[in-house]
Subunit: 341 residues, 6 copies
């Protein structure tokens, strides 16, 4: 297999801490050749820090340069996922794009279509798929230990976790709040247990009481005046096969735990909780609780990067691909629409 040439677009924290270290640890598969950021100083600093040869402040220039990348990691703000991903695909690059896929369903669909047309891999960085707990949950599902899954409660709840950095409360840049930033993670996990099918019915409510009122911040202090997104979102999704998902996401909610990221999965043969992974079932005529005393920690970004590279090499792998991303974005849009009613 040839070594792919990779470039980073977007010079923020997630590039520095997650994507670049993952790529750098795979020198036999990928070579990091460039960083591109609106701010050339930032691009240069990041490139220098990680010994990456090139720095750009203009993506077009990068794509036209001699040492053109084969793949792009799109780490830009949500509202730039669409333009830079489209530009990369048009330049025949594979793209690993940060989540959420896009600002709306139409963009995500267009991105999926172009990826298909160009025969390139487009994937979204839902790295929670690679936790040992979710991997084991999937194995249980695939081995038939859960029977058929018919209801899932998917939660990504923070008590006071509105980030004070970045643009997390700015609707025109982020496209949304708790659902767009947090809820999509557990929605992706839940859909992954239902063959990523599309719901035929859904209902949702969103709120912004705490965000707009202000309060104690556990991820820095936010400005209630500039809070434009939902701080909490609750939705119920029903699927053609009658399975259902209850989705709850919050930046701020008056609840006990500071952070609660979890799935509760109910199957015909057994139920499961993701964290800590445990299974509730019957055996030999008695109720059974299963616990797993030794699940190894995993570098979930590294595992997702490898899954993406495997896809680029034409292998099947566990990524959120362009098609799934479009379905997820369509659901997100439907949730927001339902909540407006």
């Amino acid at each position: 297999m040839p070594i792919l040439k990779a470039a980073i677009i977007g010079g923020g924290h997630i590039a520095d801490q997650n994507h670049i270290p993952a790529l750098k640890s795979l020198p036999e598969r990928v070579e990091l050749i460039a960083v591109c950021s609106r701010d050339i100083l930032k691009a240069r600093a990041l490139a220098d820090k990680h010994a990456i040869p090139l720095a750009f402040d203009n993506a077009a220039e990068m794509f036209e340069s001699e040492n053109k990348p084969d793949m792009i990691i799109n780490c830009t703000a949500n509202n730039l996922h669409y333009p830079f991903t489209m530009q990369a695909l048009e330049n025949n690059c594979h793209v690993l794009c940060e989540k959420p896929p896009a600002m709306n369903a139409a963009q995500a669909l267009e991105m999926a279509d172009l990826a298909k047309e160009r025969g390139k891999v487009l994937a979204y960085n839902f790295q929670l798929r690679h936790t040992p707990e979710y991997s084991l949950l999937k194995r249980f599902l695939e081995n038939g230990r859960l029977g058929e899954v018919y209801h899932i409660k998917a939660n990504f709840l923070r008590r006071r976790g509105i980030p004070s950095w970045g643009n997390f409360t700015n609707k025109s840049i982020q496209g949304g709040g708790a659902l767009m930033d947090l809820g999509v993670h557990v929605l992706d996990l839940a859909l992954g247990l239902l063959d990523y099918s599309e719901p035929d019915r859904l209902i949702a409510n969103t709120y912004d009481f705490i965000g707009k009122a202000g309060g104690k911040g556990l991820m820095g202090s936010w400005d209630p005046e500039k809070f434009e997104v939902e701080d909490a979102c609750f939705a119920h999704l029903s699927f053609p096969n009658n399975a259902s998902i209850t989705l709850s996401a919050s930046f701020a909610l008056n609840t006990k735990m500071q952070k609660n990221v979890n799935l509760e999965v109910f199957g015909t043969k057994a139920g499961a909780v993701l964290n800590p992974f445990s299974v509730f079932s019957e055996v030999d005529g008695e109720l059974l609780d299963m616990e797993f005393p030794h699940l190894e920690e995993a570098d979930i970004q590294l595992k997702n990067t490898i899954a993406f590279l495997n896809a680029c090499d034409g292998k099947s792998s566990n990524i959120c691909d362009a098609t799934q991303g479009a379905i997820l974005q369509k659901i997100v849009e439907a949730i927001y629409k339902s909540a407006e009613k």
Copy 2:
């Protein structure tokens, strides 16, 4: 105040263990004069056990007797709530009827209309309203400590709790399963926090996988062949003021706890969990968890009986009255309809 003459219709366990002891402990307010049951031997035995003078196997006869009752406790099967309550109202009796109100919304509405017409009190026996935890929750709400409540998760979940006695799995007698028998309790509690307003949107799913497949029973063994109702129900209700409720009820579900009856309440100023009652809020700039080390146990049936008697005496009191019962039954019907789609 005159002492009311009371009669029991339906000679089962709930009459014997709950209603009769409560009434007997209030001799200054009520006199138990008769028991009526289809089976005269059962009626007689119950009457003898509790030193009640009269026993009937025919309600009409009872209403026509000289020593006519002023109030009726309707402890019959769900499908008999409507006919006996109607008959009692027509005979100008107050009625305390077991939950759920009726088999469908039309019946409950009719019952409410007749009660109004006759100027009699009709109430449903939702006694969980009188737990010290719910009473304190209401005080917190009324004193403004929660702010405005905008989302409630209401759960009445059993892991393997399909009763093997009675008719709990028979649809034509019960009208439904986990929702009709268990879910209505927490739905009543949740609605009580939202001024018993009616949802303008809802969606629901119901299931019967475990009930129809069979398994370990913790409330006796049930016959999967005769399981005709839902073993689990999940619904999302949205209200005109944008508040929402997530309702979950089960007779059987692959979950950790054997029994989980709880509300999680999210308000603009504070959130609360019902059991054990605790509140999550902020004070003096810090996150605050409130716990209550000494809540006295209450005889909730006695409290509900007293509330009903107070209503009969024309005092305002915390009962689920005929109007609320009709709203609740309407929601239940809507949930079942949504689940059929």
Copy 3:
């Protein structure tokens, strides 16, 4: 099936509290007709208390009486297990004899031979076989979930539990101490997992330091001067198929727990602990701990009495029969012999 006529020999606590209530609760299968005790007043009092028609102070007289018993419950002291059981068998009675089977291996063998010759059921009252934990352990073993069991640690340990009543420290009456009274229970359970095969090698040590020195008593105070038996016994048994058992029993031992009755079972596929019942294994490539949140309590004496009656009716059932009792007594004797070296 005809109703068996039963008589009790030995009028002590275990007859009064365990055997008679169990028999009395099975009127459709057994009729208690007589109590026999050396002390006629005691026999009479016990008979009166439980409404049993006849009382004897002479077993021979009882066997010769008109209303002769079909079965005997032998509740006498250890040194009388042999003579009364032999007498009962000779009189063509089935016998349920208290544990241990006898004072030595020769007696137990003779008892087994006579039972066989007469075609009568002789069983020993090892009622711990019927705990829900052991029943589930057996089901796991039979369903292959443990694989092949190759090592068992069997413990019946008390920190300071030398009974101050009865004859527990008198060797000529009891035949031994902690092993004879307590260890035999868990030895029976362990052998039950190994097809009750006989060990081909064993080694043991017994001690009486604390018994002879005296100390705090948690089951009354004992007299160190009259302490003639072992207060602790440790043995290792090796079986022809290379399985092994480590057996530990104590009346008194300087250990943390007041009482510790347990098996640890090690199989090729899984291991198990009896109390609380839990299983340690692997599933889907991960280590698995299994717990059982709802095991119902059982009336283990009643279950053993029923098992005995089933055997009398010619059905196969889970009892410690005469053959097993002889094997167990042979092992006990071999342990004491090894400890003398």
Copy 4:
């Protein structure tokens, strides 16, 4: 006292991490002059890393060199303990040899004889003797607080701890499995409480089911095809004074804890558990549990190295000397022989 010149034979992990740091921290007592390893590059690298002047790939050469060592640390594989220790003693060096002493009893005896003949110290590196818990246990024993110790349960159990590195599953190099590698540690501790007397009776069983079947590895994955040693060993030892030891060791066993290294010690006055150190006894007529809230952590390798150096200086010290090592190896051999029956 003169400073001893020390050389390391065997350039593996235990030399690098344990022995060299301990020796290096004692410059006033010992000077590390050489490393000897079959692989000269490895020897050189280790010497350079720790600033040790000389590196050899031939022990004979080292002993003949001008700057000849006074003492040897033998960190080689089990099957090389004998030849290199013999060679070192013949060259008049003191030897601190890794455990187990040798491949069999004859070797260990020969080593002890030669050490005696040459007047040199030969000790085995059983460093668990120096944990604060065992030191305190010994003080309790010596101060008479336990009375006479008559039974010990000694466990070194791993659930899935077959090392994937080194030669731990190779019988011709290791001489054995769980007993040889792990069990010897707790056997040494237990013997140390019984004046290192020799058992006059013993019985044992060994198993290799899990090792040969494969499974989840917590210390890397092992190859079941190449698993030649026992994965579990259970033995009972009886001593001339009637004391007894139950020894359990495993590389792999279906048990709850990942790792369980412990002694339970039963004495006439008190019992003790090693980890966490606690004592069970009586005081002023009541049962007493003793706990020790502050035991300082110890560098157990450093303490054993100092003990060895003290012995070289002719002082009495707490080491496993050549005589004890020979006794221990004799027991190990007897256990394996018993298990073959």
Copy 5:
């Protein structure tokens, strides 16, 4: 020994529940012949309930009757301890008087003087002296295990425990509040560890904030208007040998525990906490925590009654005698005086 004839003065709860059952269980030592209460109906009812022959409403009459008592149990209100005890002593009766001894120091001294003069036993019913924890604490002290005790923290604290029955908030009847009713118990225990010596210095503060403000009552609701005593008392006592006691008592205090009755004892060799009894010391050079896994429950009233009877029989016994009672009352008075400053 002759059987003593006993009479009860004061027909309340403590007579009915504590003293009479204790006396009745000792028929070989004491015969209950009379009950005396201001209310003859109450006296009669209590006498009948317990099969006591005589009932009086006039103590003088009782003392003049033919069947005159030898001993009196004085169960009257605090302000009647003095007159009835004096009258009983004048009639040559032994007296077991409820605590506190009297309303003030002068009364208690006079009572002690008269008892001495008449040669009769006067004791106060401080039954907490007989808990197994305090008994063991005393044994530890006497056996020298604590060394010299130099500081004691004595607490009897209730969070919201103002009794709504009796006269607990009435100063003219009770003489005081939390100190008089609760604090005296732990003061007696603490003094018992210091040879009941008298403090040469003390300082105290008392409060009545919560009692006068009202609040949640856990022992019924009290009337803040009628709250005349202290709800909390804190004092420091210093003794001639430089030992010291910190005493804290409360009916109502904003503290975590509902009830906290405890001593913390600091000695030169060891410290102890009373509940649960534990000792903190050193052994063999390490810090030691001692716990006692099996302290039997005791009937502390029965034990105190026996101790009183032993004293009447001229045996030494662990009672709070007249002299100690006078010292205690003197300290209580000094505390109240100090608090007034």
Copy 6:
């Protein structure tokens, strides 16, 4: 605001680890220009380590140098607090002096008078005032949530914490023991809740049993021969408004916890415990326990340094100023005097 020039007097651990890092992190407010220590080598080394330009072994010289400091951090031994602080004030420097203020009340008063006379800030380094728990406690007090505080238990207890370094057991250098070194911290906190008023009555006892007897040391081993101070101090303080404090401090005490630094505060509306911060009160008619799930850790030295600098800038700030320090030292002296009686 001008940048203040600061100098350190006393080159020990507390200067190196606490004060210099705090000052260095505030370059916009303060410039560290000199270190002064009796030992010029120590002064030089510390100055070099932290890049401080000047080093002196003579304070007079420093004050006369050209680059004269504006403020002094006095980190000397207790007996030097007075002379160096006086010298600094005379040289018109602000002074942040380590605790305790001085050796006796007279010194502290003189220091306060001179500070006032020169118009300079003198503060003592009681940094525990800035823990998030105490800050929140103060906010609760100020917001009226506790009502009026009337009793405080203030503890700084170590089980075996006599420092083996420094001069902690030397009376002529330290002025005292557990009270002087530890107790003053919690006394300062307690006084801070009572408007730093002066007690009008107090009583105390001090002890040195363990210090003089020796024992296990958890902060190194101390020499009992050289132990000249109290190892424990217990005092009761009563204030003009009737509030009271119970103060307990120990270097060594036979108690369970190794270290126990805490306040229990009792107010008319609520009580509080400092660590972990929790509040006990009533709400809506029920008992309430308040917990605070997220208190951020604070750099308490930095916060106290900033508070001192703010005071130098004329702003009000939370420091223990010269007046408060004099009150505290007066109380300490009174405690020692009381204990001598």
